[in-house]
């Protein structure tokens, strides 16, 4: 097991390296740069700035310089928000995204699983059709539709929540983006859980449990649900990585100062270091959460053994 953990962490390094290299060169191939927008900067000042940031060097030299800094944990300065380093920007935006993302994940896992189990237990009954319809709707409605709807109903009309802004993470500000983020995940979790629970309830060992006179609680929760959770565990890893590293659409619509917003600002302004930093951040979280979900899977299913 320890060997497995070690090996997984070891293989993560080349993966990360590859991602960094590809995105670095892709970004530099794209036309334009951070300081040649229509900002009207005089050419000699622009040249000065570019020299300071080593943007006048050949791309491969910039690449190795970036790698060198990265090896020391330095993500570099932001080119656009001149007074901030990328690390400082993340120190502000990441907690915001994590907070929204993890609540959204928790909400979708708990409510989605519960809905899925309920539908499976009432398979082909009214409640099942109701939940399936809801879940299908939930996963087809795009976020850019649900977000304005939530703003309109709960913000403008009912005035229960803020329409936008972070307001120090006050519940009335956070709840909108949390629910918007959670809805499609919740729908997916509900559908996954329903399917795997229906399968689990029809398994032969469930028949054994019933034939042995075990209680409904034991049959459903102990023997059916544990196995049915396995697909959810596989799904939750990558999904959580996506949620906690911020959503561009939700953070833009609700004007939340999270990683997604930082990324889109950076990308639009060719803020190389900020974009690279975000790419690395997402990659690290994805690798980490995939790893955690694999570990959790092995914990739930004794047939899976890593060594």
């Amino acid at each position: 097991m320890l060997r497995y953990v070690f090996r997984r962490l070891l293989t993560a390094i080349p993966t990360l390296f590859l991602i960094i290299t590809i995105s670095f060169f892709l970004m530099h191939i794209a036309p334009g740069g951070p300081f040649n927008m229509e900002r009207g900067i005089p050419p000699e000042i622009k040249a000065n700035i570019e020299r300071v940031f080593h943007l006048d060097e050949p791309v491969w030299m910039q690449y190795f310089r970036y790698l060198g800094n990265l090896a020391h944990g330095d993500l570099g300065p932001s080119y656009i928000l001149i007074n901030f380093s990328v690390a400082e920007l993340f120190a502000q935006s990441l907690p915001v995204s994590i907070r929204i993302g993890s609540w959204a994940m928790l909400l979708s896992l708990v409510v989605g699983s519960a809905m899925g189990v309920l539908a499976a237990l009432r398979h082909n009954k009214f409640i099942d059709f109701f939940i399936v319809t809801l879940a299908t709707g939930g996963s087809t409605l795009p976020t850019f539709v649900t977000a304005p709807l939530i703003q309109l109903i709960f913000g403008l009309t009912l005035k229960w929540i803020w329409i936008g802004g972070w307001h120090d993470g006050e519940l009335a500000a956070a709840i909108g983006p949390i629910v918007t983020l959670a809805l499609p995940q919740l729908a997916t979790v509900a559908r996954l859980m329903r399917g795997s629970m229906i399968e689990a309830l029809n398994a032969h060992h469930i028949r054994t449990a019933r034939a042995m006179g075990l209680s409904d609680f034991s049959v459903v929760v102990k023997h059916a649900m544990r196995g049915a959770l396995l697909p959810i565990v596989s799904y939750a890893g990558p999904a959580a990585a996506g949620l906690v590293t911020g959503s561009i659409i939700v953070e833009t619509i609700f004007q939340i100062p999270g990683v997604g917003r930082a990324f889109i600002d950076g990308a639009l302004n060719r803020d190389y270091t900020l974009v690279m930093g975000t790419v690395i951040l997402i990659a690290v979280f994805t690798i980490l959460f995939n790893f955690l979900s694999d570990l959790l899977y092995a914990l739930v299913d004794p047939r899976v053994r890593y060594d």
Binding site: H123, N124, N202, A203, H204, H205, R207, T208, A209, R210, A211, M212, G213, L214, S215, D216, S218, K222, H223, R226, G227, V300, D301, P302, R303
Partner: protein, 529 residues
Amino acid sequence: MKPVLELKNIKVNFDTLDGNVAAVKNANIVVKAGETIAIVGESGSGKSQLMMGAMGLLAANGKAEGEALFGDQNLIGMSKDQLNAIRGEKITMIFQEPMTSLDPLYTIGNQLIEPIRRHTNLDRSAARECALEMLTLVKIKEPERRLRSYPHEMSGGQRQRVMIAMALANNPQLLIADEPTTALDVTVQAEILELMASLQKKMGMAMVFITHDLGIVKRIANRVYVMRKGEVVEEGDTTTVFAKPKHEYTKALLDAEPSGRKSPPSPKAPIILSGSNVRVTFNIGGGFMGSPAIQLKAVDGISLVLKQGQTIGIVGESGSGKSTLARALLRLLPAQGAINFEGRSITDFDKTQMRPLRKQAQIVFQDPFGSLSPRMTVGQIITEGLIVHEPAMTKAARDLRAIQALEEVQIDPTQRNRYPHEFSGGQRQRIAIARAIILKPKLIVLDEPTSALDRQVQKQIVDLLRDLQKANDLSYLFISHDLAVVRAMADFVIVMKDGAMVEQGSVEDIMDHPREQYTRNLMAAAFNG
């Protein structure tokens, strides 16, 4: 004696998309204390659903009606709580699928202890002691360690033992066993049957044994119920029913045991196929990341001589290398050792050299579904080989050969433009045989040709194969794990285990005077020894 369970006018219906399915139409069954009854019948006759219906274990779309009396309580229509006080304590069940009947996510110990604690007021450690005792009783080795094992760490036979331990832990009055040995290898089957019979003596519970195997019925049941199409068509003492069956269906069932023996070919008969010291090794894994390959000896130094008109039966449990040996002899697999066909060494023949011989040596497989292309008509299927091997033949001549071949296997030749799915399992196997004999081969490898069929159909196919052999002086390599069929078909038998030969000899020697313990076990398992 007082009945433990009395099933009166039981009906089981399923609500399906195609309408109502009446799985059990009207069944009456009585089980008295301490006795063993058997319910026999073909698959689909409603045996399982009858007992599931009585125990409240039907699928969600199923509904049971009638009375299932346990004492003076009716199990049908009882509240779940009342039912759960009886299931697992007074009446328990074990099932056909030992591989999947235990929860893969919990240890054996956990699964044994749970129902004990549910139905008694033993504390955890006392329940654990009880579980341990039960594992010892069902002869699980190292029971202490096995308590901590997961199902996937055990074989099918061991898992079925665990199921028996679980079912008997609370000392039930009735054990319902639904084909508990059907999915197991023959030698394991015999062990499990023996275990169940001895435990029944020891613990004195009554037993309902559901099976389609008459050998098992004869061996363990006091009384037998014969089911067909959802109804009980005959019941009585096992000995009476076997000696004087009343219902036509029962007679047909009993009559379906293959019988007769084949005499050996004349000593002057030419040798068709011989192999000496044939070996087949598979490399498993390996290569990737430099890890060494594991070598699996699928066939380990087997020699045989097959004469014209002879049938060699190759018997052994699944995975013992029977099919691999046959394929190696026909050079369908790379193998070591010397192989001769009609006196010529074919050991080093390449594809082109083998082609004319392919016509001479045909194979018929177990699965008549899988081996016939669903998109071709029967006529196309059986003439396909002719197009390859006799390309000069005219279409009309081919059609004539098709008609002859179908007549030989007793399929109406006017049906040759139909598709395989329009035929029954037995008919499909006849079509597969027609596809082989149309080429007028010298040798046919029959790889479990009757294993997927009901006993009655099986008997017809056996008769057909014997007739074809006589008419055309064919040689057969007959592969089967079913010794009753081998006894009726073969004049010489080779017993295989783990790729090696255990023993060989004439069918009389092997069947009537086996020398090796392994062969004796096989015989005991097959013929209620």
